[in-house]
């Protein structure tokens, strides 16, 4: 993932990226998140920003922090709900693009169908 500083605060972009890791199963409930400095190094961002990211994820009920032990994905995190939320966001921007192009919902759905048929293996997954 590439951060885009002109698309809002970096901490929100990074929080969303970590949510995506959980939604994809790269991070499982109970897993420990990387230490602050490690994540900061990986994305070349300020370590204070990563602290803010972990705070935001905790506020959203996705992670919890144990003093001295680190930040963990909550055992009771609803992965399916995270997946749905991320997909809805993608759907919203898809729809926005269709509207900006002056297309109807039906035309947008047809375009989605065409993509599915053009790339069947990915569509079936």
């Amino acid at each position: 993932m590439k951060l885009d500083p002109s698309r809002g605060p970096i901490y929100l972009q990074l929080a969303q990226e970590i949510t995506r890791w959980i939604a994809r199963g790269d991070l499982q409930p109970g897993d420990r998140l990387p230490p602050v400095r490690e994540l900061a190094k990986r994305f070349r961002v300020n370590p204070n920003t990563v602290v803010q990211v972990y705070g935001e994820l905790e506020r959203q009920g996705i992670t919890h922090t144990q003093r001295g032990r680190g930040t963990f994905v909550r055992e009771d995190v609803e992965v399916a709900a995270l997946r749905r939320a991320l997909l809805q966001e993608a759907a919203a921007s898809f729809l926005e693009e269709a509207r900006a192009l002056g297309l109807t919902l039906e035309e947008a759905m047809a375009a989605l169908q065409e993509v599915v048929h053009a790339r069947p293996t990915e569509g079936d997954r």
């Binding site: 500083p5 002109s6 809002g8 605060p9 970096i10 901490y11 070349r44 961002v45 300020n46």
Partner: protein
């Protein structure tokens, strides 16, 4: 508070390099000191480092005069400072001798992070030399790190490793000021950005606050300095 500057004025002959600068530096913060060439960045860093005395205004660094806390302030000059015959090991010996708190472990780790080959300085590329000089400065046991254009004129790989090394050296008790005109590349590293224009602070704001309003630091930089007509990377 690590440093406090009030109404700093510095002139060189008829040239006013700093025209009333106020600035505060806090522990744990990485501050981007941004502005085109000639805006006063180097002069300001030298005043904080105690290498230049301001004509007017007050500077307090670590509760005292900047000249009295040189060991606790690490300053990376913009121009090369190591002699050509030195190798990594000799840089280590020199810094250990001059600076009692020099952290050898950090230095060796940084040499690794920055991939500095073990050759005399004169046999290093510009990027390698810059990385070695930075490693030595970041390994000082300082409270305040002042880096003057650490990314300037270096290749993309060097610049990327330098960003990583600053994160490796960062800790909650120390403050960093990074003067650069390579805004786009360094902006995710900054807690706060200070724009210097013709010797005056024209903006001092948390970087995320600017992005909250939908603008990157680079976008705001172009708005403020667009008329100066200098390239932004």
């Amino acid at each position: 508070m690590l440093a406090q500057l009030r109404g700093i004025v510095k002139t060189y002959g008829a040239v006013e390099a700093l025209r009333g600068v106020d600035l505060e530096l806090r522990p744990g913060e990485i501050v981007g000191l941004l502005g085109p060439n000639g805006s006063g960045k180097t002069t300001l860093l030298k005043v904080i480092a105690g290498l230049l005395l301001p004509d007017r205004g007050g500077v307090t660094v670590l509760g005292g005069s900047p000249r009295r806390c040189r060991g606790a302030v690490a300053y990376l000059p913009e121009l090369p400072y190591l002699p050509g015959w030195m190798r990594t090991a000799q840089v280590e010996t020199l810094f250990r001798r001059i600076f009692p708190g020099f952290r050898v472990d950090s230095f060796r780790e940084l040499i690794g992070v920055l991939r500095v080959p073990d050759r005399p300085v004169r046999g290093l590329s510009k990027g390698e030399r810059g990385r070695l000089e930075l490693a030595a400065i970041l390994a000082l046991n300082a409270k305040l790190y002042l880096l003057d254009e650490p990314l300037g004129g270096l290749d993309p790989v060097s610049r990327d490793r330098i960003l990583q090394s600053v994160i490796a050296a960062w800790h909650k008790e120390a403050g960093f000021v990074i003067a650069t005109h390579l805004v786009a590349e360094a902006e995710p590293l900054f807690d706060r950005v200070v724009f210097l224009r013709e010797g005056k602070v024209v903006l001092d704001a948390p970087a995320e606050e600017l992005r909250e309003k939908g603008k990157s630091v680079r976008d705001v930089y172009l708005e403020v300095f667009g008329d100066v007509g200098l390239p932004v990377a």
